[in-house]
Symmetry: C3
Subunit: 208 residues, 3 copies
């Protein structure tokens, strides 16, 4: 069950992030290979950085190339269906929100399974969740989502910390995962729907 739980999170998160990356490709009017490139980088980017940092046995998609195959297939499907979305921009935001919560939780879970402590595990969750989107936006020339005025990284932090804390309290894994994903997604969804934000830094004079 344990292995499956990590893998299910990975799969779901990868598919939604791949779609979000492919939709950015559609906004740049790229060809199908561009969809595959941007979709795949977004789908597996965060997890790749996580695995490199953790020095896990092998990067997950090298060990299991079916991840790659799915990213490619999903990206191609988006190439032919992206026009069906009422607003591709909103769709990107909502898919990204799902992926964010899934990857933050799954990234922390994987780090804990590899024996890391709470602080490193939570950091790995945030890295897994945020770097796919960061890379997508840098390469795809979108405004970086981490600069959005609404809560974004904070939702990843919440999901990752929730998992770490629930795990340390001895909560059952499936429950911990479900609650953490719900917390992270709920917070980001609220931010998208109602514009929730944290207080931002306000410069006071002198300000240069």
């Amino acid at each position: 069950m344990f292995e499956n739980s990590i893998i299910a999170l990975d799969w779901l998160g990868i598919v939604v992030f791949t779609i979000s990356g492919a939709l950015v490709a559609s906004r740049n009017q790229m060809d199908v290979i561009g969809f595959i490139l941007l979709g795949t980088i977004t789908g597996i980017g965060g997890g790749t950085i996580r695995d490199l940092l953790l020095d896990a046995h092998a990067v997950f998609w090298i060990e299991r190339p079916q991840y790659l195959a799915v990213c490619i297939a999903v990206s191609i499907a988006v190439f032919f269906t992206a026009h069906l979305a009422a607003s591709r921009y909103r769709l990107i935001l909502w898919l990204d929100a799902i992926g964010l919560a899934l990857f933050a939780t799954g990234g922390s879970e994987k780090a804990i399974a590899l024996g890391e402590g709470g602080l490193v595990a939570a950091t790995m969750g945030v890295i897994t969740a945020c770097f796919g989107g960061i890379i997508r936006d840098v390469i795809g020339k979108e405004d970086s989502i981490i600069f959005s005025h609404e809560i974004y990284v904070t939702a990843a932090v919440l999901a990752a910390l929730s998992y770490v804390i629930l795990h340390s309290l001895g909560a059952p894994r499936e429950l911990s995962v479900a609650l953490s994903v719900a917390a992270g997604f709920g917070l980001r969804a609220g931010a998208l729907a109602w514009g929730w934000s944290l207080p931002r830094y306000r410069p006071r004079p002198p300000d240069i």
Copy 2:
């Protein structure tokens, strides 16, 4: 012979990519250290990411520092000779095309030599070929070449897939390498000369 074949591809690709990076430095009117930085990053960037992902014994230029020395020497030479090029911009594009075909083939070859399957090997070829240029363009503030309207990433995919397929068919290594490089370079050269492109995503209403 086998070792030499990989190494020869690496050397050639590194030199042409280093020149392309140093030429971008010239377009930014950087000093000689800037030439070395941008030339070297472009020359060894793609292969570095490949080696990190494959968890090869060591990154190639750490194991053989003469790669670094050559990148530095080539970058310095470009600093003093870049003005001789009739059009530095066209020269960048053509050197990049050669490097693209060489690295796509060589990256796949190295991955296969390390025991990876076809999909991962082809992906490594594309990563090796494309990431040096992506990093060059992000740091050098050029429009990313992967957004060019003409075929670009597709040529790397063709070279990498060609090598993987020819290898799996049991073709002699040198022949496979030669054909794959020729296919990749030929496709990109055609795109540069005649504007070849794949059909691009066309938004249909609703389009936001």
Copy 3:
């Protein structure tokens, strides 16, 4: 003593780079989580890339999570105090100069301690010194500091080469470190104060 010397350089460099990253967050009016993200990435980014390339036992902040804790604490402190700086932009430049000299020296030192030769060690110093700032500027949408007209990367090269040469001459470690940091910081400080620069590439016709 040896271990401590490396670690002291790491600590100091990390704190000043973290502050510089958090100050960039303040210029973007991010929330406190944004400060932590950008501060921490800047503080540990260069060393992380160094450790990944060197394939050291583990990335330093995974082995010693207190580094992370300090980055987070420092970033939060900056969130509440950044307005006290007379000019946050100048402060970023000077902190970056200190971090540059410390990381260039410390990065070379670590590479030598791991058995690398002089060229690779100097390169690692430059990478450690420059990549935190490069990532900070890419994510924080600042003009990349490596494009500054004043000497920048050159100061990192000087510090790194100084350490490598002094080490190879058998100079005592503490002396080598002190001289190298002083040389690198002095050169960058002169560039900041008096606009020192190296001759830049000048296009001559034909120039396209």
